[in-house]
Amino acid sequence: MKTDTKLLMLIVVFGLIALAPLLITQESLLNIVIMTLYAALLGQAWNILGGYGGQVSFGHAAYFGTGAYTVAVLQVQFGINPWIGLAAGGLAAAAVGAFIGLCTFRYGLRGSYFALVTLAFAEVLRILSNSVDFTGAGVGLLIPLERSAANFQFLTKAGFFWVIWAMTLAAFLTVWKIGNSRFGAQLMAVRDNEDAARALGVNAFRVKMGAIMLSGFFSGLAGVFYAQYFLYLDPYIAYGAAISVESLLVPIIGGMGTLFGPLLGAAFLHGLSELSRAVIGDAPGISLVLYGVLLVIMVLFVPRGLAGLASHLRSGKRAVSQAEGGNDRA
């Protein structure tokens, strides 16, 4: 697919999604769309580092939780407006990304070693937030209800929809730009073969640092949104494994290192969990069981994800028609 075609498709898809609040009047249905966009944002953030950079992280909750706690603590403890908290949350999460990047990439940690260290960082942050006072420790933080747009607490779901729509679009545009820039070319080169990339003058450390900070930033934005949407945080929500798992599951199912993968993955996962709720009911943990089964199936049979499956079918058709063309000539 040409890059201009991708941009056009991106604009069309987000344009269609933008129709949702106009067409859907039922708040609970709009909620599903909002949560799907939120999952796509979370997944796209992971995709920058994991999909395009090849650095698989098991601890994206570290960035998510930092964004969420930043906006909540600033509001509850210091009375700072959450719109300022939005920027602060993203930047704080990017700073955590920079710190983790310095601790890992500087010393050449790759593959499973990197993954384990990211997991450890998220756990350390969870335990810290569970034991210091300003995060409310184990009790958590309740953001006072004060419904107004100026306070990032909208009266209707439509308000939240526009915020998450804009943030997710920003993340997708950023990833489109990555796929069409020197930074992106170098990032993917490092993913596919770090030594060969360095031999061609790519500063692998700097490129990976850029990716982990961008990834952390968007993950942090998702955290800020979560905090404002649900107005409650505790260490398990913010820094727990569930967020880390969702962050990586969405792009793995949708297609790692592809622009549209996280959107496909998010839609598929949320569709599935809604379906399971309708069929099985709200049995606790059932969605995690489903996610696990799905992950095994995807990794075994569709390792390139839904987006990979789509392009595979397309190129398969092309190969067939080429072969036929070859026969004609012969």
Partner: protein, 250 residues
Amino acid sequence: MTVLEINGLCKSFGGLQASQSVTLTVPQGGITSLIGPNGAGKTTLFALITGFHTPDSGSVRFLGEDITGLPPEAIAKRGMIRTFQTVQPFAGQTVRENIAVGAHLKIRGRAEALAKAEAVARQVGLGDRLDMDAASLTVAGRKRLEVARALATDPKLILFDEVLAGLNPSEIRDVIPVIHAIRDEGVTILLIEHVMQAVMSLSDYTWVLNQGAIIAEGPPKDVVSDPHVIEAYLGKGMAERIAKREAASA
């Protein structure tokens, strides 16, 4: 003028001395080759020169500047690019995208880098495979890709690590003019090669490495008749036996 000047370069891995005080120079322009039997330490020497290993002692000077111990990317930025003996394509990316990574060393814009990649691909004979996945190239195609990626960085000196190994004679005949064309553009070339036919027809000057040390140097024709070199390749006493046989048949 010398492009590359290596002085007393040493490196050992545990008890193995992979490089024992190697000293060699590469003059500007032309093709210099580095030969030696398997395990002589040729690839290690390349890795030492290009920053993939740090030497224990000795120095590497490139265009008059001391670059000893710099990381690979810093050395590449100065204009010295190596290729790999075992080809290292960015699998899953197209030939065009692979070459563009090299082009991006000097070019910021994506479109310009892709255009440069296309031009370089044509130059090395990959023009018809631009949109192919690099992983699906044949061995000969991958070797060309290694050359193309290096060339796309606009280097001053290219270190080719056995670009002809694994190719059949007709493929070798196709690649040799490509290397000549690179030299004719003014790029200096240092190559490691096993294919003696290529060494003889390509290089102006040859250095011979054995067990981590330089044992001979000179024009290729002189070097291949050097008794030390014959013994390094064929074993002790071989030079004498060959000389005897030649005397007998004469």
